[in-house]
Structures are given as C-alpha cells and as structure tokens.
Amino acid sequence: MHSNDGASDQRERIPRLAPGWEPQDVALTPVEGFLLSRMDGRTSWLALRQIGGVSPEQVDQFLERWVEAGAIEFVLKQAASPGGKAPAAPPPAIDPSLELPEELQQRILDYEARLDGSYHELLGVDRGADNEAIKRAYFALSKQFHPDRYFRKNIGPFGARLERLFKKMIEAYELLSDPATRSELERSMDAVPPDEAGTYRDTQRRREVIGAQEPAPPGGYRKPTPMENLARLRRRFRIPKKLVAERQFKARQLFQAAQVSAHQDRWIEASASMRLAIAFDPWNPEYKDGFGKIQAQVHGLRARALLDQAENAGSRVDAMRMLEEALGYRPMDPETNTRAARLALELGELDRAREYAETLVEIEPKVALHHVLLSRALRRSGRTVEAQQALDRAASIDPQAPEVKAERLKSSQRFRRR
C-alpha cells in the first residue's frame, strides 16, 4: 500500500540535514520536530518509517517535502556504517565458479530479499499455521540453507549470506513456535498497516534493556527486589516478553532521545519524545517525572514566544489574547503580568487590570511599580480611597520613582478638578 516502486530506492537511503539549513528557521510541528530528531545520519528512510510515533505515510510526506525544499540530503552508503562493521555488500550476483549450483545461488538470493518481510513470510507459513506446520517449514528451509550443508565447499560470499539467513530463520522459528509470542505478533499485525505488521527489519533493533546494569566485577548476591521477582515471574509464565521488552526498549530509546534533546535545549522535541516514551511504557515513573520537568521548560518557551508575538501583534486586542495565553503557561511571571496589567489599562479593562496588579503585588510586594499599577486600576474604577492607600504604599517603598511621582501628580490633578 505504501510501496511505490519508484521511491523505494530512495527509501533505502539515509537522510540527514543539509549543511547550513537550520531547523530553527522554519516553524515545525512537534511531529516534524520529532522526525527531524530521529535523523542521525545513520537511520535509513525505511527505518524512520519503522520507529513508531510518526506514521509511515507522514514520514514519507515530510521527507519528500524536505527533500524538495533542500532541507535534507542523503548520506553516501559507505558513511552509513561508522564502525565499518557492515560494509556495503557487493552487488549480489550469481557466480558460476562457486561450488554451489547456480539455481541454488538464485534461491539463496531470492530468499535473502525476503529477509525484510514478516516472520510468517520468512518461514513461508500462513497466519494461524500451527506448531507442526511451522516446524516442518523451518526444518525444510534448514535443509536447504544450513551452513553445514556447504561445509568446506567454495561458496564465496554465499557463506556469510547463509549464516545470516539461518540466524534470521531461527529468530522467526523461535518467535512463531512460542504460542504466546506468535499470538502477540499476529495481534500486532491487526493493529498496524499490513506491510508493517510482524516486521522487524533488523535484529539489532529488537534489543531490550535489562535495566540499569553495569557489567562490572561481580558484586555480592543481593535479595531480588519485588520488581525483579515480577520480571522473573513474567519470564517464567511467558507473558509476551519479547514484545513487552521491545516496547520498553523503544520507550528507553525515546527517553534517551528526550534527554539529549533537552540537553541541547530542544525542548519541544524532548517533550514529543518523552510523551511517546510514556505511551510505550506507561508504568515507568522515571518517564513521568522527566516529562513534568520538560513540560515546565516547554511552557516557558511557549510563553516567551507569545510575549514576543504580543510585542509585534497587529492589534492591542490580539496582543492581550497572547499575553493571556502566556499567563496560562506561566501565571506567576512578573513581566507577563506587568505587561498584561498595562495593556488592560490601555484597553480600559479595569477589572482585569486590577487582577493582574493584585497578582503582581502578591508575587513581589516590594516593587513600587506594582502598587502604582494597582493604584491606577483602582483609581480609574472609582475606588479612590483604596487607590490612595496603594499609592501611599508605593511611595513608602520608593518615593523618588518616576512612576510614583507621575501617579501622585495625576491623582492630585484629579482632586483639583473636582
């Protein structure tokens, strides 16, 4: 459904940010920001469609747009493996000089092309196939592809290929022959688009985290914690542990991504990652705690942005709305409250002006200006006695402040006019 053969070549490739293009220069949605943060120069387009959080359609849509805009470019193949661990395979080709029938070489290459498919496809069994059928399929494939079949034969690059094939086959067999993991896999096939279901492109990605464990010199044995006992019970009763672990692993990855983003002050990305981490592993208190801290930062950022926008707003009414929104994020921020109070006075919204001024007095009672603002709001509402009291408080804090002097002048003029 998503596979569009023209684009599939491109999707094998690894996108990264084009040099000189600053993501800060454009407005991105959190989802886009999240996707952007996943592009580490090592993850292929295909893998990006796999990571979850962003649907494959959205990934395609965003990436295609960014390619067009020149925001991203593709990494050359060789640079894709920093450790030099998996050098680009030579183009698969049938080699008649090998001690391996050409027909068999073709079969191996064909099978290798299926490695990206679902586990069911890998073993060539239907959904709902029983253990016996799965085992039969696995045995039949073993007889074709087990490396022992070609012991000491000159089979060139097909040797490594067979080992890889076989390891993958074992993985499929292990997962499918366990009723618990099989039903979980089949359930997941119902939950996601068909070409994503039951598919894990890379064993590497199916890692699980065994908690914060340091492989270090042996410590003494300690009594297992209740959590560890629970983990052990889970293992024993074969709750679909592979999937639980997979989700926890994903959550961990996202959590760590969030920490990195946060560290680099990319709070919105951090927040998106953390939110996803919680979705994958809702019971981890660490994530919730982390989310709270990140949210505080995100709110701060939003509020700041709104203050800037209010400065340049087209109308004072718009500006007022923005300031109010900013106060939603940071209700106790003195600067925001001060600006809101002034603007409310300008707009003649005296009740609100008084509210903001009262908040200000409450947060910072030692600032003369705050009392002046309150006095002004009260005076204009006709509550002159209270206004005078507020002004007296301001004067007692700082009689020489220009705002205090000006307000005193205004107040005496009014008396004179009467």
């Binding site: 045995f139 022992d148 070609y150 012991f151 890692r207 065994i210 044995y221």
Partner: protein, 523 residues
C-alpha cells in the same frame, strides 16, 4: 581426502567408527575389542601404555595409571568436582599454571588434554590400521553438559593426537543420528545414557531428516562406577563382618575388588547369582585370607535402586522440559554399558511404556553417530541434517552479580543475539564484560569463559550510554562476544573459544615432545 572418523571419548571406554561404503562401521582394535578403556599408564620400566594394556597392569601400578580423566578435563583445580576426584582417584592430581588440573605420572606432569590426546591418538591408530590409510579428521563427542572450556580442551586433545576436529558434538545427539539414518517421518526419541561416570537424558525430535534437540538433563557424577563402588563397599563390609579384616586402606586389594565388582555386575545382567572369588586378598597373623562370596541380582538391585531412581527423576524433568508426555516418545535409545543392567531397562521401559530399541550396541551408538555426522559434513549428503544446539546458556555478569542470559541453552546454532546494557554511575567511562556460561541466576556460580573491558565511553549521566553486547555463535560453535558503545561506535570483542586450558605453544610443544614416544600396538 581421507575419511572422517567418529570418536566417542568416554569416561571409562572409548570407541571409534567410520562410514565405510555408505554404512557406519565400528572399528575393532587389534585385540578384537570394539571399545578400549580410556586409560593411560606409565609402567614401572618407563613404558607408555594405553587402553587394554594400561588396564591390565592398573592393579599393580595404581599410582601411575590414569582413568576417568574425562572428569578432570577443562575443569578448574579448585572446583568441587575436581576436589571430589582428588579424593577418589589413586593417581596424583596437581594444579596447572592456568588453574587447571594436571596429572603426575612417574614424576612427569601431564595436562588432561594431553592424556585425552594420547587416548585419541590410540583410536586414530586403530582406525588407520583398519582402513589401511592415514586419518587426519575426526568428529568427537562430549556430554551435553560440557561447557565451552571442556569442549575446547577436548579439541586441543584432538590437535595433540594429530587430528583436525571438524566438530565436537553432543553424545545424545550422536546417538539419535545413529537411529535417524533413513528415517523420514517425525519421531520423538529419548536417549538414556548411563555410562561409566556420567548420566545423561535427552529428548530429540527427528523429522524430515532433521535432528533437533528438545531438552537435556543429567548428572555428571553418576554412572556405572557408582554401581561398582556400591558393590565394593558391600563386599568390604561383608568381609569385615566375616573375617574381621578391614581392607579399606589396602590399595591393591581395592583394585582387585573393583575389578571383581565390575565383573560381577556384568555377570548379573544375564545371571541371577554370581560368585566373587578373590584368593589371597590379604594377609594377617593367621596367614593368607581369601575372599569368597555370592552376590545375587536381588542384592545388587537393592544396593543401587536409589541410583536408578535418581536417574529416573532426571528423566521425568527432561520429558517435562521438552513439553512432551512420556507416551509421546516414539523410541527409547539406551546408551552406555550400564544400561545392560536389567533393573535400568525395567525402570526406563516402565516409565516410557515401551521397550527400548535394540538395534545398535549401547557401547557403540555414540561413536557410530559421530562417524555419521563426520560423513554428513564432508560428503554433502542431503538427506540428513543435524541442527546442533548450545549446551548451556550464555550471558554476562551484571553489576549486582546477576547473570543476564543472552543465548538460552538448547538454542540452535548458528545464532546471534544482542542486548543493550548501560552504565550505573555518572560519567562511567569503562565497563567490564564477563562472559559466562551456565544456568545459575548468580553470576559467580556459572563458568567464566573470558572477560574484556570496553573503555573510552563518552562522559554521560548513568543510564544514558547504550552498550550493545552481542553474542555470535557460528556453525562451528565458536562464540564471539562484542560490546559496542552505540554513541561513539567504539567496539571491543573476544572470541571465546580460543581460550582452552592450554596455549597454542603448549600444544605444539606436547606434539613435538611425544614424537618418538609412539605407542606400541596392542598385543
């Protein structure tokens, strides 16, 4: 290219087979025996003796005759198994430079691989004599519970014997291969192996010519020798009761008693009663004493019934592990001479509700299977395939002393598994990866295969670095462990299987030392 021989390197007896003309043949030695005692001795006049020759003089030369050295191979000197062996064996065992066990014979120190190598060389010689051509390649069997160090030490023994060891395979798997020849439909097989020194039970499945191990269990210190020891203890007690003489400290008498006990045990497999007759067993003030008594099958069964019951407990556990019920088992294969005992056969057939297979001699099943696997590898036979498994779980030690399993036991090889680990301290720059093998949840109770350190991890808060630890076992059973810091891409790895108890130089040294010591042919 020469043919590949299959060798069952047993605790008490060894056996060699080869596939000849498409059929497996067990090769008799020059004396006509199809098995040879796994014994090596240096006689009083300095001659090296192996097999039947060594056994024949073992009584008078107990201190310089090695038997059951398979119990020692690849084990650490301070391990409880080894300390137990030191108590039991009349020959001297000392600690080697690598913390392994070494055996002192006539003032010369031998490694266990060297002793095994001498026995393997003898089996090689037997095969060459029979085939009339040189032999250079072998498949050797080991118990399913052997860990990687023990397997590697066995491989080293092959090297010392001048053999290239194509594969080390598990004894029960080999036994199943023997019966798997020509089988087409799906069958479940139980292999009950009660040998001289060890007991193993395995459940295997054979389908479409593929052999898969479903479960294994066993006891490394339980076997025919325990039967013998029970008989010896019984005779000692009886003798003391009748004659008032304690023979417990008389080494010579003990060796004679042991031989007599073994013979009586074998006799009682077909007879109801046998006579034990040992003239001049001891001397005291009143002159020479003779031991003469009768032993009935009933008495023997009473003496060993708890041992047999113990094996049946393992059988129950193993069947349960395999996810099958006793009645699901299609064939029961008996391996090891001790399974000739009627009581054992009764217990096994009673449990499975069917009589055991009788096609192949229980002493020869394993070697035959090894020969078949060797032939499968080099001939490119496409009808049968052995899916070998890892015998024990593999993993690493975690900071709290726990064992984190990466590869479960009985996982088919080749295989690759990886896990992410992380740090436990802020700004931790190095982690130590200790590679262990075993089934205990506590790291220190498992067998250490090797260790290495991954360093230069970039500074980060604890729990942040991702350390990808991967275990990779190739089709030859060679374990490679790597650790990679995901962020920096820095990687460290070790190949575990290269660490036996002998270094490559030591092996070469032994090989060159032993030329010129060519063993005499069997009389």
């Amino acid at each position: 290219m020469g043919r590949v021989i299959g060798i069952d390197l047993g605790t008490t007896n060894s056996c060699v087979a080869v596939v000849d003309g498409g059929k497996p043949v067990v090769i008799p030695n020059t004396g006509g025996y199809k098995t040879s005692p796994s014994m090596f001795a240096i006689s009083q006049d300095g001659k090296r003796l192996v097999g039947h020759l060594a056994k024949r003089q073992a009584i008078t030369n107990a201190k310089n005759t090695v038997y059951a050295s398979k119990r020692l191979i690849g084990r650490r000197f301070e391990s409880p198994e080894l300390q137990k062996a030191i108590e039991l064996f009349p020959y001297e065992i000392v600690e080697g430079p690598a913390g392994d066990a070494r055996i002192v014979l006539a003032d010369k120190v031998f490694s266990c691989s060297e002793i095994a190598g001498i026995i393997l060389r003898e089996m090689k010689r037997v095969a060459e004599e029979y085939l009339g051509e040189p032999v250079s390649e072998a498949v050797i069997t080991v118990p399913a519970y052997f860990n990687d160090t023990q397997r590697q030490a066995t491989k080293d023994a092959g090297k010392i014997a001048g053999l290239e060891v194509l594969r080390i395979i598990n004894e029960p798997t080999a036994a199943a291969l023997t019966y798997g020849l020509g089988s087409r439909q799906s069958e479940k097989i139980a292999v009950y192996d009660l040998g001289g020194g060890t007991f193993d039970i395995s459940i295997l499945e054979l389908a479409d010519g593929v052999v898969e191990v479903l479960a294994t269990a066993g006891n490394t210190f339980l076997g025919g020798e325990d039967f013998d020891r029970r008989i010896v203890d019984y005779i000692l007690e009886e003798f003391q009761a009748r004659e008032g003489l304690d023979l417990t400290d008389d080494l010579m008498a003990l060796q004679r008693l042991k031989d007599a006990a073994e013979k009586a045990k074998c006799d009682l497999s077909s007879l109801q009663v046998t006579e034990i007759n040992l003239p001049f067993i001891a001397n005291d003030a009143s002159g020479a004493r003779h031991l003469n008594m009768e032993l009935t099958r009933e008495t023997l069964e009473a003496l060993v019934s708890d041992i047999v019951n113990q094996t049946m407990k393992s059988v129950e556990q193993c069947v349960a592990d395999s996810g099958l019920a006793a009645e699901d088992i299609d064939h029961v294969v008996l391996v090891g001479g001790q399974t000739r005992t009627p009581m054992v056969q009764r217990a096994v057939s009673g449990f499975f509700g069917k009589p055991p297979n009788r096609g192949v001699n229980p002493d020869e099943v394993v070697a035959t299977g090894a020969a078949i696997q060797g032939n499968l590898l080099v001939s490119g036979d496409r009808d049968l395939l052995l899916l070998d498994v890892t015998p024990l779980s593999l993993g690493i030690a975690t900071f709290d002393g726990h064992f984190a399993t990466l590869i479960q036991r009985n996982t088919t090889v080749p295989v690759r598994k990886s896990h992410i680990f992380t740090t436990t301290r802020d700004d931790q720059t190095a982690v130590k990866i200790r590679v262990l093998q075993g089934e205990s949840e506590h790291a220190e109770e498992n067998h250490l295969l090797g260790e290495f350190v991954l360093s230069d991890i970039p500074l980060a808060p604890k729990g942040t670095p991702e350390i990808d630890v991967a275990f990779d076992i190739d089709a030859n059973g060679i374990v490679n462990v790597s650790a990679r810091d995901v962020a920096s891409g820095k990687e460290q790895s070790i190949t575990v299987n290269t660490t036996g108890t002998l270094s490559e130089e030591e092996i070469q040294q032994i090989v060159s030392d032993s030329t010129g010591f060519e063993l005499p042919g069997q009389a």
